[in-house]
Subunit: 240 residues, 2 copies
């Protein structure tokens, strides 16, 4: 089975055979987790860096009133913050959305990877920059887009990220999350997410059933959401 993490990093830099071997060594023994499992909780002391090899997970925070806001989706190939162990405690939690295979990279191993494999270091920094850019894009969506725009924007984002990692075939992406989860990511209620999805179906932009999303009219989604993919940084600066 392909190691999605390595595949993703290869999209950023050209890795040597030695780089790849080191990454395989570091992520070779993933653990399997059932859905709805917290991999790490807010308040915990940060431990090893998590890398999602299969399945979906998400970062989230729970508010005093019990509501939840999802902050980011982690799809195969994604990993959590690099230097996280410098902080005394986690400021958010990470939970699996589906069955997931996750590798944990101990900080000693990570340090070794970063210092002895400059291309890996660079690729991981790029990945981190893109994650941060995505956080900014979410702030923009939550702050200034209507709910219809937000839904369209998120579906397009996930689709494009899926294409990038080979998760999407043609116009199809497996979207293994409930409308409640979507709602917690979009800052709306599940009822309203449902309304907006119905609108998108009626407009012919998407088909969505049983966890399978089909993008029938990408241009419709782009128009509705005002999508600009620059925040996903598909072009990078050449490696000096």
């Amino acid at each position: 089975m392909v190691n999605q993490f390595i595949k993703k990093l290869q999209g950023f830099v050209e890795l040597t055979a030695a780089d790849i071997r080191a990454l395989e060594e570091a992520t070779g023994r993933p653990q399997t987790f059932p859905p709805r499992t917290d991999l790490i909780r807010e308040g915990d002391q940060p431990g090893p860096v998590l890398v999602v090899l299969e399945g979906w997970a998400f970062r989230y925070k729970v508010l005093p009133n019990g509501t939840r806001q999802i902050i980011a989706f982690l799809i195969p190939g994604d990993c959590c913050d690099l230097n996280i162990s410098m902080l005394a405690e986690m400021d958010h939690s990470i939970q699996t959305a589906t069955h997931a295979q996750v590798s944990k990279i101990e900080s000693t191993v990570l340090t070794d990877l970063m210092t002895n494999h400059p291309r890996i270091a660079r690729a991981m920094y790029v990945a981190q920059l893109i994650d941060e850019s995505t956080l900014r894009a979410w702030i923009v969506s939550l702050g200034r887009r209507s709910s219809a725009e937000r839904v369209a924007h998120l579906l397009l984002e996930l689709y494009i990220r899926g294409v990038r990692t080979g998760l999407a075939n043609r116009d199809e992406l497996e979207l293994p999350i409930s409308q409640t989860v979507l709602a917690d990511a979009l800052g709306m209620t599940p009822v309203h997410v449902n309304r907006m999805l119905q609108d998108l179906r009626r407009s012919g932009a998407i088909e969505l059933k049983r966890g399978l999303l089909r993008i029938l009219g990408p241009e419709i989604l782009t128009r509705i959401s005002g999508f600009d993919d620059n925040y996903l940084h598909r072009r990078l600066r050449a490696y000096n």
Copy 2:
């Protein structure tokens, strides 16, 4: 005049005299900019790292419909992303809110700082982690807090950050931004920001006039916003 950037980094790690000299050298010749000046624009090729020594600035994005969302405030001591030059173009803009003194650190100088001064490197990574954590906290606010809660939360955040950098004396913080700017940060309209500020004044939580914010009832703001300062990471993991 104190170099707020050095002061901030000293809050994270113990710097040696040599570290401080290197930082003074790197940020010693700041440029002055008038208010409302774009320091860098979305789409530009990333250049040197920006460090704000005096005055306020903010990161923002403009949407196709012309509305603006502010993504982060940069107060004295703050700097922008470290590895930003790995990306081909900026995904957002940065603008001064007031007269500001800004130093630009060329990437060669930065690389030198990071490789030859491990304490500086560590401090800058911590700063970056906290910035990222703050992005997540903003997502939570925009997604799941009411407008009253959001206003209270932002004021408290700015006040706490101000205290941390010595910008705030006692219960006072200079808040040199208009309600329109606040609105663009909070994802609401200026009219509604005004309503919420009035409510906060009436509740005795704050006083705010001519750019001077007074926190009269921090506990009121905390209660209203459900504020938890963990995302600002005032405690750090001990340096191995």
